[in-house]
C-alpha cells in the first residue's frame, strides 16, 4: 500500500491535511496527519467520504452528449472536444466571444484553475461573473477597516479569555475549531454564541444570544455605546492605531433599550454582554459568513469589527476578529476581495461581467451580444445561484452548454455535453487556506478512470483545435509532470516554498504573522485602523462609519411572514457530498426546520410534506419541527439537490450586498403550508 500526504481543496475553512493509503488505484484509507497544527486529528466526515467519492459508481467518467429525447449517451473524447471547439469557434465568429459565459464556481481550489484564464484570454475574452456567492461583503468590510484580511493562527484561540462566536457554526462548518474553543474553555474562557438559531455550536458554549435575523449591527452598535459610556475601551490603542474614532463615537445612537426592540435581546443582557467584552480580554471574535449575506452585511461586519477595535483586541495574543485569514493567498495577482470587482485592477479587460448575485436576471438582460453558450466548471449554478428559476431559464435559452462535472448534478443535467471532471487525487496542485496559515501541495495519487481529463488538458486540447496562440507554458501539455513543472514555475518567486518540502506536508505561508497585525501596521490610506472610512462612502455609498441599516422588505413580502435562512449542512460543502451513501447514512434527511409555535399555527406536524413559497417560486419538502429554531424563522440547508427536494435558492431573490458584490441570501421571506 502506498501512502501520500495531501490536502483537501474544498471551499471550507479547515483545509485539512491528511494521509491517503492507496492500493490498486483505489483509496483504501484516509488517516490524520498530525503535522498540520490546525487539523491534527484529520479531516471531517466529508474528507473521510473521499474513499467512497473517488471510486463512486455514480461518477461520470466518459464524455456524454445529450440526445434529442433529453437522455445522455457516451461519446469518444475526441469527438466531444471536436464538437465543443467547433461550436465555440462558430459562436465566437457569429456573435463575438462575449456571447460565451464562462462560469466557474468554488468546487475545487488550486493554482491550476488559472489555466482556464489563459485559455479564455487567448480565445479572445469571454463573459464572466463578478462578485461571489459567499463572503465578499465581509472581506470588503474587514479590508476597509484593517487594510487587509488576516487573523491570528487558529491555535492562538486557546489564549482567548472571551470568545464571541457571532453567526458562525464551527460545530458544523469548521469542526476543527471546536478543539481550540474547548481548550480555551478548559483554560477558563467564557464562550458566547450570537445566532438566531440554536446551532450545534451553541451546545459547545456557555450561553447563546438568539438575535433577530439581520439585526446584528444594531446589537454591535449598542454594545459599542455601552463600552464607550462605561469607559470599557482601550484609549491608548485607539489613540495610537485608530482613525476616525470620534466620528464613530458621535454617530452612535442605538441604546441597549432601542436595540432590544430591534434585536429581541433584553437591554440588560446587552449591557452584560458589553461588560464581558470590555472586561474579559483578550477577546477573539469568530464572525461567520451568514451574517454578511444580507443587504446590510458589509456594515454589519464593520459594526462588529468596531467592537474588537475600540477594545484594543487587534494585534495581540488571544484576540482578534477571525473573519478570514488570507495570509496563505500569496499567489493571486489580484487579491481578494479586489478580484470580485467587475473590472479589477491589474486584470487586462478581456471580459464582460455579470453579477454573481443577480446571475439569472443579468444573463437574461445581457445584450450585445446576447449569451449563446455557457462553459461551466467547478460549479453548480442551477442549484446554488439565488433566484434559481431565472438562472435555469437563462441557461435553457442558450444554444449550447458545456458542463465539466464529476456527478450528474442539477447543472450537469442541463448540459449539451458533459465532460468528466478530475477529482482532487488525479492532478497535482497547490492550495492555500482562508483559516489556517498553510500553503499545501496535493499530489496526483490516482490515475483518472475512464476518459477523465483535468481541466488543464481540456483547455490544452481545445486551444490546439482552435489554433489559439498562447505564450509558452500558459497551458501546460498533458501529463502530470508538466503540471508539476508548471507549479514549480509558479512558486519560483518564493524561496521558502519548494515543491519537495511541500510534498512532506503543509508549509507555513511566507511572511506569516502568527499574531496578525502584531506590528500594528495597517495597509489603509491612513496607515491606521479606519473605523471611519471615506472609501466606504465613496465606493459603496454607505455611511463612512459602521451603521445599522434596517433590512427593508417590499410590501408584498408582508404576506410571507417567515424569514428563510439557508446555511450550510454539516455533511455537505454547498451541493457537494450530499449524493454519497456514507453522507446520507450519517445525516438527517433534508427537511425544512421550523419552530413548534410556527408549525402549530399552521397545523403542521413533524415529517409532513409541505409547500414553501413566496414570489420567487415554490418547493416541496419534508418538515422537521425543531426546538432549535426561533419562532418567525425557518431553516433549509443549501445544496440540497432537486431530486432530494431542492435547495432554497428557488425562493431567494437575486440581490447584492451593500458592499463587495456579495449575495444577500438571507433576506427572503416565505410562507409554508401543508402540501396535498
Amino acid at each position: 500500500m502506498d501512502e501520500f500526504i495531501t490536502a483537501c481543496p474544498r471551499n471550507c475553512y479547515s483545509t485539512c491535511t491528511f494521509i491517503v493509503q492507496v492500493s490498486g488505484n483505489r483509496i483504501k484509507r484516509i488517516l490524520p496527519f498530525s503535522g498540520n497544527r490546525a487539523t491534527p486529528e484529520g479531516p471531517c466526515i466529508k474528507g473521510l467520504s473521499y474513499i467512497e467519492r473517488s471510486s463512486s459508481r455514480d461518477r461520470i467518467i466518459y464524455p456524454l452528449i445529450r440526445k434529442k429525447d433529453g437522455t445522455f449517451i457516451r461519446i469518444p473524447s475526441d469527438e466531444a472536444l471536436d464538437i465543443i471547439s467547433s461550436r465555440l469557434g462558430s459562436i465566437r465568429n457569429r456573435y463575438g466571444s462575449h456571447s460565451i459565459l464562462w462560469y466557474r464556481g468554488s468546487g475545487m481550489s488550486g493554482l491550476t484553475n488559472e489555466i482556464g484564464y489563459s485559455f479564455w484570454k487567448a480565445f479572445g475574452g469571454t463573459t464572466i461573473t463578478y462578485g461571489n456567492l459567499c463572503w465578499p461583503a465581509g472581506l470588503e468590510a474587514v479590508r476597509l477597516t484593517l487594510g487587509s484580511v488576516k487573523h491570528n493562527v487558529p491555535w492562538d484561540l486557546v489564549n482567548a479569555k472571551t470568545i464571541i462566536i457571532w453567526g458562525k457554526n464551527p460545530a458544523e462548518t469548521n469542526v476543527h475549531e471546536i478543539r481550540f474553543i474547548a481548550e480555551a474553555r478548559n483554560r477558563g474562557a467564557k464562550v458566547v454564541l450570537i445566532d438566531p438559531v440554536r446551532t450545534p455550536s451553541a451546545d459547545k458554549t456557555d450561553m447563546m444570544y438568539s438575535i433577530n435575523p439581520g439585526t446584528d449591527a444594531a446589537l454591535a452598535l449598542a454594545i459599542a455605546k455601552v463600552l464607550i459610556d462605561n469607559g470599557l475601551i482601550d484609549c491608548e490603542f485607539i489613540n495610537n492605531h485608530v482613525a476616525g474614532y470620534e466620528s464613530f463615537r458621535d454617530s452612535l445612537n442605538i441604546t441597549p433599550e432601542s436595540a432590544e426592540e430591534i434585536t429581541g435581546i433584553p437591554a440588560g443582557d446587552i449591557i452584560k454582554l458589553a461588560f464581558m467584552i470590555g472586561k474579559g480580554g483578550p477577546v477573539t471574535f469568530l464572525p461567520g459568513y451568514g451574517l454578511q449575506r444580507h443587504i446590510n452585511g458589509g456594515q454589519t461586519v464593520r459594526s462588529i469589527l468596531a467592537l474588537a477595535v475600540i477594545t484594543g483586541n487587534i494585534g495581540k495574543q488571544g484576540s482578534g476578529f477571525n473573519y478570514a485569514n488570507l495570509q496563505s493567498y500569496i499567489f493571486d495577482s489580484v487579491k481578494e476581495p479586489d478580484s470580485y470587482y467587475p473590472d479589477p485592477k491589474n486584470d487586462s479587460p478581456f471580459r464582460r461581467t455579470l453579477s454573481m448575485a443577480k446571475l439569472g436576471q443579468d444573463m437574461m438582460n445581457a445584450s450585445d451580444p446576447v449569451l449563446k453558450t455557457a462553459f461551466i466548471e467547478r460549479g453548480n449554478p442551477i442549484l446554488q445561484s439565488p433566484d434559481s428559476n431565472k438562472v435555469s431559464k437563462a441557461f435553457s435559452s442558450m444554444e449550447f452548454r458545456v458542463v465539466v462535472e464529476q456527478f450528474m448534478t442539477d447543472t450537469a443535467k442541463i448540459a449539451d455535453i458533459i465532460l468528466p471532471a478530475k477529482n482532487m487525487f488525479e492532478q497535482s496542485d497547490i492550495i492555500g487556506s482562508y483559516w489556517s496559515p498553510y500553503v499545501q501541495f496535493k499530489p496526483k495519487i490516482l490515475e483518472s478512470p475512464g476518459e477523465v481529463m483535468p481541466e488543464s488538458e481540456i483547455y490544452y486540447e481545445l486551444s490546439k483545435r482552435l489554433g489559439l496562440v498562447c505564450s509558452e507554458n500558459q497551458i501546460p501539455e498533458p501529463g502530470n509532470q508538466n503540471i508539476e513543472n508548471w507549479l514549480k514555475e509558479r512558486i519560483k518567486g518564493y524561496s521558502d516554498l519548494q515543491l519537495e518540502d511541500l510534498r512532506d506536508g503543509p508549509v507555513i505561508a511566507p511572511g506569516l504573522q502568527e499574531i496578525a497585525y502584531h506590528d500594528f501596521k495597517f495597509e489603509t490610506e491612513t496607515g491606521k485602523i479606519e473605523i471611519y472610512s471615506q472609501t466606504a462612502y465613496e465606493k459603496w455609498n454607505v455611511s463612512p462609519v459602521p451603521e445599522y441599516v434596517p433590512i427593508k422588505r417590499k410590501d408584498e413580502e408582508n404576506n410571507f411572514p417567515l424569514v428563510l435562512i439557508t446555511p450550510n449542512a454539516s455533511g455537505r460543502i454547498h451541493s457537494q457530498f450530499g449524493n454519497l451513501k456514507v453522507i446520507a447514512e450519517n445525516s438527517e434527511t433534508p427537511a425544512l426546520m421550523i419552530s413548534p409555535e410556527d408549525a402549530e399555527r399552521r397545523k403542521i406536524s413533524d415529517g409532513c410534506r409541505i409547500r414553501i413559497y413566496n414570489e420567487s417560486g415554490e418547493l416541496f419538502t419534508a418538515v422537521r419541527i425543531s426546538n432549535r429554531i426561533p419562532s418567525g424563522a425557518v431553516l433549509l440547508h443549501n445544496g440540497i439537490w432537486m431530486e432530494e427536494g431542492g435547495g432554497g435558492n428557488i425562493l431567494i431573490s437575486g440581490r447584492e450586498t451593500d458592499m463587495g458584490y456579495g449575495s444577500a441570501f438571507h433576506d427572503n421571506m416565505v410562507e409554508i403550508e401543508l402540501a396535498d
Partner: protein, 437 residues
C-alpha cells in the same frame, strides 16, 4: 497496558465521522458505531451532550458468555471481542445482555454484526477507524490505565463489566443559558418508547408457555398416577421446540446451540429442553414410572433454566420475582391440574401478592391487562374452591388464559438494561443538572 476507547464529551459535535469512518473501513451491513444524544430534542432546560458508542470490548463480555452457539471469540492480541457471522443463528440473546447496545441484529442477513475493534488495523499498528476518523479528538484510542473508570455519566451503564471505555474531561453537563429566556421550548415532550411485543417475542412466549404446560401436564399425570401415552402429551412436548425455532433466522444452525453449555444460560435451557423431551418420550412409551419422575424433575429444571435465561439478562426483582416466571406458574398449573386445592390457593396468593408488590401504574392500557389477569385467576380460583365447576372446560380456559396473559405481561416487564433507555429514563425522571453557573 490496557487500551480502549476514550471519549471527551466537550469535543463531540455529533458530526458522525466516527460512524462514517467505521462503515468506510469495514463492510458491516449494520451501523455498529452510533452517536447517541442526551436531550436530542434540544429542550432548553436540559443539558445536551453526545456519546459516540460501539462495542466496549468488556473484560467481562456478557455477549460472549451468553451466546449459546459460541459465535463470539476473544482475540487476545487486539483484546477485541469478535462475533463470527457464520456461526451466529440470530437468537439475539447478546442484544439483551449487552447494556451498551453494541450487538446489532441485521434483519436482512439474520445475524448479529458488531464492532471488532478494527483488530486487523490494530495488527498493522493503526488505531481503529472510528477514533482515527474523529476530527476533533473527542473519540480516541488510548491507554486506559491512567484514567479513572468511575469518571462517568450517571446514565452510563454497568461499569462492573469492565468496559474498555473511559470518559475524559467533564462528564457533568449544565444546560445552555439562552437569551432571551422565553424563546425556546424548555421541556422534553416525548416519552420513552413503549415496550412492544415483537414477533420473535411471541415465539418465546409460546415456547415458554407450552414448556410450562407440558411439564405441568406430565407432573399432574404422575401425581394422579394416570400414566398413558397420549397424543396430546407428545404434541405438548414438541410444540415448544417448534415455536422456539421460529424466532431464529438461521434455524439450521440450531444444532450448535448447546455448544456453550459451560457459560450460556440459553445453551443450558436448550440442553435442558432436549434432555427433558427425550426422557419424557422414553418414560411415556416405556411405561417406567421411575423414568417419569426423572422426566418431571428434568422438566422443572428446564423451567428454572428458562427463568434463568431472563434473570441473566436483567438482574432485577421485576424479573426474578415476576409472577409470570415459568417455575412458579408451573407449580400453580400442577396443583390446578391435579386438583390440589390448598397448594393452589397458596401459590395463587403468592402470585397475586407479587403482582401487587411489583405493580407500578404506567397510565397505559397495560395496567388494565394486569387487572384482567388477576381477575381471571380469582375467578378460576373461586370456581375451584366452591367446587362447582372444576374441571369444566370453561374454567380451564379461564385459568389458562390468565396464566398466558401473565406470561405476556412478563415480556412487557422484561427490559434488559440498554443505554438508549437509560438516557431517556434519566431525562424523564429529571435527574439532570439544572443549575447554571
Amino acid at each position: 497496558m490496557k487500551k480502549g476507547f476514550v471519549f471527551n464529551q466537550s469535543l463531540c459535535v455529533n458530526c458522525k465521522a466516527c460512524s462514517a469512518a467505521c462503515s468506510l473501513e469495514n463492510n458491516f451491513t449494520v451501523k455498529v458505531r452510533n452517536v447517541l444524544t442526551y436531550n436530542r430534542e434540544a429542550a432548553a432546560s436540559v443539558p445536551l451532550s453526545h456519546l459516540s458508542i460501539a462495542c466496549n470490548h468488556c473484560e467481562i463480555p456478557v455477549c460472549m458468555m451468553g451466546c449459546p452457539v459460541s459465535a463470539y471469540r476473544y482475540d487476545s492480541l487486539s483484546e477485541a471481542v469478535i462475533v463470527d457471522e457464520s456461526k451466529c443463528f440470530g437468537c439475539k440473546y447478546c442484544v439483551w445482555n449487552c447494556p451498551y447496545d453494541a450487538p446489532k441484529y441485521d434483519p436482512v442477513k439474520g445475524v448479529i454484526g458488531k464492532c471488532h475493534f478494527c483488530y486487523s488495523r490494530l495488527g498493522e499498528g493503526i488505531e481503529p477507524a472510528c477514533s482515527s476518523g474523529c476530527p476533533t479528538g473527542a473519540l480516541s484510542y488510548a491507554d486506559l490505565s491512567e484514567l479513572n473508570p468511575m469518571n462517568t455519566t450517571e446514565w452510563f451503564p454497568e461499569n462492573e463489566l469492565s468496559p474498555s471505555f473511559r470518559f475524559k474531561g467533564i462528564t457533568k453537563n449544565i444546560p445552555l443559558r439562552i437569551i432571551p429566556d422565553s424563546l425556546f421550548i424548555k421541556k422534553i415532550n416525548s416519552v420513552p418508547e413503549e415496550k412492544k411485543i415483537r414477533r420473535s417475542d411471541w415465539s418465546l412466549i409460546l415456547f415458554s408457555f407450552f414448556s410450562m404446560l407440558s411439564v405441568s401436564f406430565i407432573a399432574s399425570l404422575l401425581l394422579k398416577g394416570e400414566l398413558r401415552d397420549s397424543l396430546l402429551l407428545v404434541i405438548l412436548l414438541f410444540l415448544p421446540g417448534v415455536f422456539s425455532v421460529f424466532h431464529l433466522s438461521k434455524w439450521y444452525r440450531a444444532w450448535r446451540a448447546v455448544f456453550n453449555f459451560k457459560s450460556s444460560p440459553l445453551s443450558r435451557e436448550i440442553a435442558a429442553y432436549l434432555f427433558y423431551v427425550i426422557i419424557s418420550i422414553t418414560s411415556v412409551f416405556s411405561h417406567a414410572p421411575w423414568l417419569l419422575v426423572v422426566a418431571v424433575v428434568s422438566g422443572l429444571l428446564l423451567l428454572l433454566a428458562i427463568d434463568g435465561v431472563y434473570i441473566y439478562s436483567q438482574k432485577d426483582p421485576v424479573v426474578y420475582l415476576h409472577s409470570g416466571q415459568t417455575f412458579i406458574t408451573a407449580l400453580l398449573l400442577i396443583s390446578f391440574l391435579s386438583g390440589s386445592v390448598w397448594p393452589f390457593i397458596f401459590i395463587a396468593c403468592i402470585k397475586i401478592l407479587i403482582s401487587i408488590y411489583l405493580y407500578k401504574p404506567s397510565g397505559r392500557n397495560i395496567d388494565i391487562l394486569r387487572h384482567i389477569r388477576n381477575a381471571l385467576l380469582l375467578v378460576a380460583g373461586a370456581s375451584i374452591i366452591s367446587g362447582i365447576s372444576y374441571p369444566q372446560l370453561s374454567v380451564i380456559i379461564i385459568f389458562l388464559t390468565g396464566e398466558f396473559l401473565d406470561r405476556i405481561l412478563f415480556y412487557f416487564d422484561f427490559e434488559p438494561t440498554n443505554i438508549n433507555n437509560l438516557i431517556y429514563k434519566h431525562i424523564a425522571e429529571g435527574k439532570y443538572e439544572t443549575e447554571r453557573d
